[in-house]
């Protein structure tokens, strides 16, 4: 008898992902996790929900500096160490089909970018928006604190420019973003990316695909084993 014959397994596996658009590991984790879902035999029964997390929430809103300069200044990271770290991540990214361009990446306050994710979610475009923002940040080096840039990306995904601009001007979705951050604190999440499977199992960091497959398999087995 297959697992899908059990009642509970008919319900989708819910995966809650906390991430930030300026988090390079989140870009990789997002890509690898998606590959794991594609390989998972019950991939069509996986529902993904993104949640906001902010690295550097105190970074001045509207400002943008090259991420390398920010890291060098704030963490006193030697240039050679920074370049080695970038090269390692870029190589792993390339394996997952990502093109990291760290020399162009900028550090910003991501609150407005999170507003766009929540706006997109309201229109069923949450996952495409997350993907688009990551590519804009790490491959194209766009300034995601610039409202015009964010509105352009929203339009690209078929959203209404005026609605996107209004969401940014009125600081919309503040409550949703705060709720995501509060939930992260409650779960003890202190870094991202962080993946929660069916509110039960957690995976921290951009782990290899095998780890995500294992998490999906075990969660599916949990579903099949639990009474209807």
């Amino acid at each position: 008898m297959s697992a899908s014959a059990f009642g509970p397994a008919a319900e989708p596996i819910v995966v809650d992902i906390w991430s930030d658009v300026v988090c390079p590991w989140c870009y990789l984790g997002n890509a690898v996790f998606k590959q794991a879902v594609e390989q998972f035999p019950h991939g069509s029964s996986v529902q993904v929900r993104y949640h906001s997390f902010q690295l550097n929430p105190s970074f001045p809103v509207g400002e943008a500096v090259l991420a390398d300069e920010y890291l060098a200044q704030n963490f006193k990271m030697p240039k050679a160490q920074l370049e080695a770290s970038h090269a390692q991540l870029a190589a792993r990214g390339a394996e997952a089909g990502l093109d990291y361009q760290f020399s162009k990446t900028v550090m910003i306050n991501t609150l407005d970018a999170h507003r766009m994710i929540h706006l997109a979610k309201a229109h069923g475009q949450e996952l495409p928006m997350v993907d688009r923002l990551f590519r804009a940040e790490f491959t194209e080096g766009l300034n995601l604190s610039d409202h015009a840039v964010l509105a352009d990306l929203a339009v690209e995904l078929g959203l209404d420019r005026a609605e996107a601009e209004k969401a940014l001007e009125t600081k919309a979705y503040e409550q949703d973003i705060r709720a995501d951050l509060a939930q992260a604190r409650q779960l003890g999440i202190s870094g991202v990316p962080f993946f929660v499977f069916d509110n039960k199992r957690g995976v921290s960091g951009a782990q290899p695909i095998e780890m995500f497959r294992k998490a999906l398999d075990v969660t599916w087995q949990d579903r099949a084993a639990s009474p209807a």
Partner: protein
């Protein structure tokens, strides 16, 4: 000794806010040894 009823009548009992349910602790799948593959809240990525 004379007591005043006025003060006690003004008291309004307020039910305490219901405590938010605390989620069950997550079962963490053991990460692969080596780099954490994550960025901390202060922006440090390793």
């Amino acid at each position: 000794m004379q007591s005043s009823n006025t003060e006690t009548e003004d008291l309004v009992l307020v039910d305490p806010e219901p405590a938010e349910p605390v989620p069950a602790p997550l079962i963490l799948l053991e990460p692969v040894e080596g780099e954490s593959g994550m960025c901390d809240a202060d922006g440090w990525c390793n």
